[in-house]
Amino acid sequence: MELDLATLAGLFGRSFSLWWAIVPGIALGLAVGILPGFSPQNTLIILLPVTLAMDVEAALAFMIALYCANHLSGSIPAILVNIPGSAGAAATCIDGYQMTKNGQAQQALVVSFVASVAGGLITSLAVLALLPFLARLGLVLRSVEMVVIILFGLTLIAVLAAKDMLKGLIGGAFGLMLGAIGTDQVFSTPRATFGFLELYDGLPLVPVLIGLFAISEALVMIEERVTGNAAPRAPQRPQWLETVDGLRMAARHWWQIVWTGFIGLVIGVIPGAGAYIASFVAYQQSRLFSRTPHLYGTGHPPGVIAPESANNGVTSGTLVPTMAIGVPGGSTSAVMMIVLQYQGIVLGPRLFLEQPSIAYGVFVMMTVAYLFMVALILPLARYAAKVVTVPVHTIVPLIIALTVVGAFADREYLFDMALALVFGVIGYVAVRTDYHVTSILIGVLLGPIFERYLLRSLRIGQGDILVLFSSPIANVLWCLLVVSVVLPIWRERRLARTAT
């Protein structure tokens, strides 16, 4: 799987020549990513007739550009109106929307774009250098290790609950219980489905996301219409200066972009681990190692950088097992696999010897797609930030109507629209009574996969709980988990002692 510089230069040249496929892919990915409910895999499935008819390299370039741009643009509604375009952008709402409320919408968008592009660029270049090692990593990290990695994400519930631990934990536990809806992982018997067939696959994430964030936020915004206390404000200064300000904020936290991008890369390599695990884990770790953890949640730029860099690091990671061992790292890479197999390409280790232009080309194309995005997205921040100036009487009906439509689009059930509305009311009540909706969402997102990996581990260990401590990597992760839970408590106590 070694790659020489001449081949690499040739691959870069070839990828740049595919700009005509990459640019439309980016445009479509950005558009689809903004709309909650429209996933890159669904878009690629719809576009299969187009990609199957294209030359294989052009089709790959188009799909990869769409995939990467989609991961980037989910943060736009998350930052501007507190509505994550995808589950991977949910953690971005925590600080991104606060920045908008503080009058820094454009800076937040620039910070998010720079973190996404830089995170994606760094990790795709890292994959080119470390591909043999990363390919093995996907095999080493198994169910037992995944249980601990997901627990890292779940500890974010406690972090978010810092202001009122009891309410935060109740929200998280409620989310975890809701995540247990649907047929069980072993015998496929329905649990707590209220008799709805639509819930047999579990609680659909898109309507929950839309309800908890979008509809609840729209209902809160109505207060502004009546009282006139509109929170988000139009930028005060000339707008390019705000872009430069955002670039400065991102540059100040460059190291944050690098290491949280690698969190995304490693989690992306694990087949089945989604971008949302990476973004929640990265946010939690970023706060843990920060010198100013108390600023997280108040509109702190690293709170935007960490989930966005990790979210885009996942895009590189998820393609590693797909190309190296022929196991799709996620649903989008599974669709890409279909296109490649249709074109007669056999994925796996031999691909790197027989067709390096495809095997390594994927990661070079990803790097090139991110380079194209650098030029395309900064002007976007300037114009997208204008959304905050739209009057409440227009934006609220638009949010509710379009997100309810988005709730339908994922599975094409009217039931999901009603479900989004139910979760909208739950989200509104939660916001009004100081329960963190992100805590509930983390439970709903991570609950089912936690159960899946836990049961898989227990079955491997024949019911013995000690199987969770049976691997050296898992044991190291357990130690890190204990440190990440204990360290903030110890630090808070030390600060309190210093203050007294």
Binding site: F38, T43, I46, L166, K167, L169, I170, G171, A173, F174, L176, M177, A180, D184, Q185, V186, F187, T189, P190, R191, A192, T193, A218, L219, I222, E223, R225, V226, T227, V392, H393, T394, P397, L398, I400, A401, L402, V404, V405, F408, A409, E412, L414, M417, L421, G424, V425, I426, Y428, V429, A430, R432, T433, Y435, G447, E451, L454, L455, L458, R459
Partner: protein, 169 residues
Amino acid sequence: MAGERRRRPAGAELIIPTLAVGFTAYYFWTVQELAWEAKANGIVIGAILLVLVALLGLRIGLRVARGEASLGLTLGGDPQANRLRLALLALTVAFIAALPLLGTVIALALMLAAGMWLLGARHWPTLLGVSLVTPLLVWAGLIVAIGTRFPLGPFERGMAALLGLAGAE
């Protein structure tokens, strides 16, 4: 009255816990016959949830006993805003119910126009522009171009017949 302590209504803080406890009880009831693998995770989390809710109930109970809080159920907020919220929710329910009958474009246009009117939009060009252009964009982008199977009505069928669109009939 000066000197009299204002008791903060805390009953609303129990809405989410009550929902959570209700759902947990329902979950326990649905899994009672299942094998341990199918219910272990939910039962452990549910038990933790019940303990947490009991602690919250105790905390609120103590506040009520001390006279610091009441069990009032208000969510706060301006009464006019609350009326608008309820009206908008009712409008959204009507939108979902009307979708299969009117189709996506007409239902969406009506929903947007009514929603904007309800919230006080009186600038006719904006009101008409947003409530007509948005459904047309949804139709062109999501129904015609991407092919999402939204409920079709007279508009979608008429346009499909007029333009000879195969996927949107």
